[in-house]
């Protein structure tokens, strides 16, 4: 492991100043992803600034009826919070579907959405990866693509040697729920405090796959805000994976559904394991709103969302299976929420 200096400043403002002043500095939260990357040589910082004990470890009620979750709240604590379990079950379920008990106790709400992809090529410093080493190409193209993207990728097959190629997926379960819930990210940066919609936090690879989010150097996530969303009381997270527990998603669906009789009054839908970002399924939502709450309509909405999906070939058979799998998972998840409404 490359040597690094370590600092634990006295305040978040000081932490932001310290990271801003050192181009090769990083923030340390729970460390479950960063410490592994230090060992693998994926992350090679000169300065590590520990913020785990600086940001808030409280979840407080907001004036408008939502919740403000401090960045240092652990994934376990948030999943166990009775307010989350009652009013935002999709979030509690997503948290509990991720990692295992020991990791959830270390992992923080501020750090979880900023974890890096589990693309095996990104994590292997001997292979080409534009995200880890900009301009080196993408070894995932035509490789093992079972865990890779089908949405938000170019219609043409990607070029393994191009500097902008990246077919990685975002690994967080929690982030999929936060995208569905229209969460708000509280950021303290070199220019002061600001908020941004969670759905705008992550970015597609574009011309720079090395950047996972829109955050700049020195920007620190201090809290995640959950706006009030009464329909989220009827919400759920469904994760499909290679093992029953402790595995990343092949596909996942976060959904909240508001049904009036046989009609969909409102819906929130986000997908995991299929794109460089937690994927908010806005096309499917448009198709569903005001339409019938039937399995046929749910399937049509899923198909509309996935019309632009691009399966990636691979030595493992590729990931084309994700498209029918996702269609079925979206349909079943919405159907289950409908059945919950009438029981």
């Amino acid at each position: 492991m490359k040597p690094f200096a370590f600092a634990r400043p006295g305040s978040v403002a000081e932490a932001v100043r310290e990271v801003s002043a050192e181009p090769n500095a990083v923030f340390l939260g729970g460390g479950t992803n960063l410490v592994d990357h230090l060992k693998l040589g994926v992350a090679r910082p000169d300065l590590v600034v520990d913020v785990r004990t600086l940001t808030s470890r409280e979840t407080t009620d907001t004036a408008d009826g939502g919740l403000l979750v401090g960045a240092a709240v652990s994934n376990s604590e948030l999943a166990a919070d009775r307010r989350v379990r009652e009013h935002y079950p999709v979030l509690a379920q997503a948290l509990l579907a991720g990692a295992n008990g020991q990791l959830r106790n270390l992992a923080t709400v501020g750090g979880n959405p900023l974890q890096r992809t589990r693309c095996v090529y990104f994590q292997d410093v001997t292979t080409a990866c534009n995200k880890r080493e900009p301009g080196s190409g993408c070894a995932a193209v035509g490789g093992y693509t079972r865990y890779h993207a089908v949405l938000g990728v170019p219609a043409a097959l990607p070029d393994a040697t191009a500097a902008d190629t990246c077919i990685a997926t975002h690994p967080s379960d929690m982030a999929v729920a936060l995208a569905a819930l229209d969460a708000v990210v509280h950021v303290l940066g070199p220019q002061g405090a600001r908020t941004l919609p969670f759905r705008e936090l992550h970015r597609l690879p574009g011309d720079d796959p090395s950047r996972d989010t829109v955050l700049g150097h020195g920007d620190l996530v201090t809290a995640i805000e959950l706006p009030p969303l009464p329909m989220a009381a009827r919400s759920t997270y469904r994760k499909v994976r290679d093992r029953a527990s402790y595995a990343f998603a092949l596909v996942s669906v976060a959904a909240a559904l508001d049904v009036d009789g046989d009609t969909v009054r409102d819906v929130r839908l986000a997908l995991g394991g299929v794109a460089h970002v937690p994927w908010r399924a806005t096309r499917a939502e448009e198709v569903l709103r005001g339409g019938p709450a039937t399995e046929h309509a749910f399937r049509a909405a899923a198909e509309a969302e996935l019309a632009a999906a691009q399966p990636q070939p691979g030595v493992d058979g590729g990931n084309g299976f994700k498209i029918p799998l996702l269609t079925r998972t979206i349909t079943a998840t919405l159907r289950d929420l409908t059945e919950g409404a009438t029981s």
Partner: protein, 169 residues
């Protein structure tokens, strides 16, 4: 680069100067001679290094020592007074819940942690009704122990051992 830290491990206070790159796992095993937490994968995947860190079960291999200045750690060695067994350890013996034993200190600490979590009403992926308090069903124990791998596959005896210890609380 070095840093000074204080750590309490199994009730004993240590004042140490550590390289900033040192994990708590390497510190305990290589510096303090406490080989109860095991180095299985060293990447947070196997659970062999599970301990109780500041009251909750956690992995030592992904914890930088310098980031846990002042921490209190209980390893499987320190769960019970010298010469005695913790109820979870006794339950593992009663149910023959191991073969080679390499993963056992991590399994035991994980079980101690999960019983505390269940006591506080924490749900899991296996909890059907999130608004209820969880019970120690087979599915709940399996799900909550999923972060502890056993290559001898003693899972079928680990689950009842955890349930026995849970019932004895």
């Amino acid at each position: 680069m070095d840093a000074d830290i204080r750590l309490t491990v199994d009730g004993e206070l240590h004042e140490l100067t550590v390289d900033t790159r040192t994990t708590l796992l390497d510190l305990l095993r290589e510096r303090l001679g406490n080989t109860s937490p095991k180095k299985g994968c060293d990447h947070g995947q196997c659970g062999a290094c599970t301990v109780i860190l500041d009251g909750e079960r956690a992995l030592l291999c992904l914890a930088l020592a310098v980031a846990h200045d002042g921490a209190e750690i209980t390893t499987a060695n320190g769960l019970a007074p010298e010469g005695e067994l913790h109820p979870v350890q006794q339950a593992f013996l009663d149910h023959d819940a191991f073969q080679c034993g390499y993963c056992t200190p991590g399994q035991v600490c994980s079980a101690v942690g999960l019983l505390s979590e269940v006591d506080r009403g924490w749900p899991s992926h296996a909890t059907a009704d999130l608004t209820s308090d969880p019970e120690l069903s087979d599915a709940e124990v399996s799900e909550r122990m999923s972060g502890n791998l056993c290559r001898c596959a003693a899972y079928a005896t680990i689950t009842p051992a955890v349930q026995q210890a849970g019932g004895a609380r």
